[in-house]
Amino acid sequence: MVPARIDRRRIARGLMLAVPLAFLGVFFVYPVASIVGRGLTPDGSLDLSPIGDVVTDARLRGVAWFTVWQATVSTALTVLVALPGAYVFARYEFRGKRLVRAAVLVPFVLPTVVVGSAFLAVLGESGPLGFLGLDQSLAAILLAHVFFDYAVVVLVVGGLWAHLDPRQEDAARVLGAGRWQTFRSVTLPALQPAIAAAAAIVFLFTFTSFGVILILGGPGYSTLETEIYRQTVQFLDLPQAAALSILQLVAVIAVLLVAGRAQGRRAQALRLRPRAETSRRARTAAERAVVGVNLAVIAVLLGGPIAVLVERSFDTAGGYSFGFYRALSELRRTSTVFVPPIEAVRNSIVFASAATVIALVIGGLAAFAIAGAGRRVRPGRGLDTLLLLPLGVSAVTIGFGFLIALDRPPFDLRASPVLIPIAHALVAAPFVARVLIPVLRSIDQRLREAAAVLGASPRRVWREIDLPIVARAVLVAAGFAFAISLGEFGATIFIARPDYPTLPVVVFRLLGQPGALNFGAAMAASVILMAVTAVAILAIERFRFADIGEF
């Protein structure tokens, strides 16, 4: 190889690392450091005593313990419930598969307060499952976490699973291994990086879960996240909030380091196949039962609450009608808060598109840098952890950090609409990276080397080897990023924002005033939000990469 080429590669890798690092530095590290710093220097001089106070407070230690515990159980439960689902999506063809796969992302975008009301309709005292006594319970929290995060496991794990060569499993079976043994010794090791990636995301989401704890758990439960919210937003006790944020950060980093180890070590080159070759219709009765049971789980767990919302959006006083949908464009029409629904849809799509582009660029570059650095180089691991941190740090801390950090040129963005997709991309970029890394790592390095030996330029290698395999994962990642933004994840909930109302904002406004029309219209807006999500995901899935589209 020519030395000049190596240099260019090194520069390219440097750039790949630099862009995500700069983004995270400006929009994550700097704001969080500012607000924590403000909390720890109340009178201008450093005062670390709040950290000691927090660590020695028995109640707060209990809160920290419960936070980790509920996140661990939620994650285990979600993986357990969703893994069979991932298998079904990866290995079987069935009617409406595309639609169902788009639909599992729908819970992701729903405001917790709306989902809370649907759950309560089922779990509340007079609901059909009221006798279980699950209202305001730990079980309700866990159930809601599975509801929200099911898609993470199905899509992240299913994405890799669909490309695994089933002939390896067949070979194991032929050699006499049982079904379970085959799964454990052939399939599971191959899937492990993807499972670790999905589990890490679910863990962080449930670790910083906020609405679910407050609304479905009720006021009897607190986590580090709800405490930080209370101390920051309600009491403005910045020293204590800073101490809690540091505690949260330490816990998250510890977990990520453990998870990163599991993920990095076991990544292996796999023989990836196009999806068309790996999935087929269920043939035997047992196979049909597996598909049926999983679809039933989706129908009940995810479809149940969604059905309640849809039903309510049509349930007007004079029977089922579009009354609430019409009310959306009539209620408070002459007021400053009025938003024509089509405008809210448009704003949502604009912000989500922008957030998706930013997340794909940042997360994509990071993924190539991390996967390219492979198991040999350390900086990749560091970026990997840093990229995930925004998921594990309180949205309140980030949001309030924006307020005091991004208030001067060149980053005078506090009241700029630009901040909204950036804040969403902060949450979405790690998804993109997590979806891409396992796939990139599993590309056989020998393929690349063979191509290079045969005279292909690095660009050509990338285009002919990496891209076809990665294209499919990019679509999954884009779908996630889009849904994250549509659902208004992250810091935007807690910051003053210029008034470009999106669909979730419309839902919140409608729920903020009494009256049957407001409530019904809020349900209608939620249903529109779900529909926009499903259509957007389907549209993203339709993107074709020419001859590699079937992969």
Binding site: V113, G116, S117, L120, G124, I215, G218, P219, T232, V233, Q234, F235, L236, T316, L331, R332, T334, S335, T336, V337, F338, V339, R346, N347, I349, V350, S353, A354, V357, L360, V361, F400, L403, I404, D407, R414, A415, P417, L467, V474, F494, I495, A496, R497, P498, D499, Y500, F508, R509, G512, Q513, P514, G515, A516, L517, N518, F519, F545, A546, D547
Partner: protein, 358 residues
């Protein structure tokens, strides 16, 4: 090989963005040609702020000043953001700080003193800051609301007082908001502190707890989901809400009913007073003063009741008929001096938490 890479995906996504030409702002009043100096000022406020477009246009027409609204979360979050950014404020005028949150902001010196001439028409009893850093704009009573139909169907007497709520016949009927996370929840806690005294309120909440009071996180959940008298059709016929919720139920009903489906228990109320103030650091002090004057003027005050479901602070403001008919004004609401609230708020919330939730 065809030259299809990731680029088209990025390009087409960007094209979508460009095609729809950026997000659409809803609340900025449209620019008025020929009037005034074309100043734009920012009104920082909570998420419940609302006004008629027509009224805001009149202000722009009269003064040449355009108002941009910046909603910043619930009342507590909005005030704390204003305090946090006091060295470099987010806007020029702040609306929506109430008497439960006032003291801290005054201590932090967030507002510029300004005595609007319009204050001459506002009762002295509402003007809580002697230095006029904030001016009262509206009042609202936080009271227990009841579901009329529930009590009529069961021929159960509607409770009247705070004490009634602890009686066995009302066991398991009341849902309240957590005062640590909700502004009406805090107001109701303050009502009990005022009415039952610093020594009696904890014992009262113990009785409420033993009478199976349900606590939820915020108003939206309590009112829309748990309360049986509104759209959510929950299981609880008594809920902490506002004295103005009954007229809102009438206005926002699918078909206007003869009688409001809900009512307020006027002996259980705490009076909230909302204020407006000019943010220290504004570069548009004159325009900011004009906006404060306008918010206290009859035009704006008359518009408020049906926009935000509050009572105007200005004396003699004509109320809309639906307010006259369905909104009750508590004759003797509970209230506490803002500095007393500021001194004790965190401790009261902690004590409440350990009494009711643990």
């Amino acid at each position: 090989m065809r030259r299809l890479t990731l680029l088209p995906l990025a390009v087409s996504l960007l094209a979508t963005v460009a095609a729809v030409a950026g997000p659409v702002s809803a609340t900025t009043s449209p620019p008025v040609r020929g009037g005034g100096d074309g100043t734009t000022i920012t009104l920082v406020t909570h998420d419940s702020f609302n006004a008629s477009k027509r009224v805001m246009r009149q202000f722009t027409k009269r003064t040449g000043v355009t108002v941009e609204v910046l909603p910043s979360g619930d009342a507590g979050a909005a005030v704390n953001q204003a305090i946090l950014t006091k060295n470099n404020p987010l806007g020029d005028v702040f609306f929506g700080i109430d008497n439960t949150l006032l003291s801290r902001a005054l201590e932090e010196d967030v507002f510029l003193p300004y005595r609007s001439p319009e204050l001459a028409n506002v009762p002295k009893s509402l003007q809580l800051d002697p230095r006029d850093r904030v001016s009262p704009v509206d009042t609202g009573d936080v009271c227990v609301n009841f579901d009329r139909k529930y009590f009529a169907d069961r021929k159960l007497t509607v409770p009247k007082t705070l004490e009634d709520l602890t009686k066995p016949e009302y066991k398991g009927l009341l849902v309240v908001e957590n005062p640590a996370t909700s502004s009406p929840g805090l107001a109701f806690l303050l009502a009990t502190v005022d009415k039952l005294g610093p020594d009696g309120w904890r014992a009262y909440w113990e009785r409420l707890r033993d009478n199976d009071v349900k606590v939820v996180d915020g108003w939206e959940q309590a009112y829309n989901t748990e309360f049986s008298g509104s759209a959510g059709k929950g299981d609880y016929p008594l809920v902490v809400s506002y004295a103005t919720s009954p007229p809102a139920e009438v206005v926002n009903a699918e078909a206007a009913p003869e009688e409001a489906p809900t009512g307020a228990l006027l002996d259980t109320c705490f009076r909230q007073i909302e204020f407006v103030g000019i943010l220290r650091g504004t570069e548009h002090e004159k325009a900011a003063k004009q906006l404060v004057d306008f918010m206290l003027s009859e035009r704006f005050q008359r518009d408020m009741p049906l926009q935000m479901y509050v009572f105007p602070a200005r004396d003699g403001t004509k109320l809309p008929p639906v307010f006259v008919k369905y909104a009750k004004f508590a004759p003797r609401p509970a209230s506490l001096p803002p500095d007393e609230i500021a001194r004790n708020r965190d401790q009261w919330i902690d004590e409440w938490t350990s009494t009711v939730l643990r």
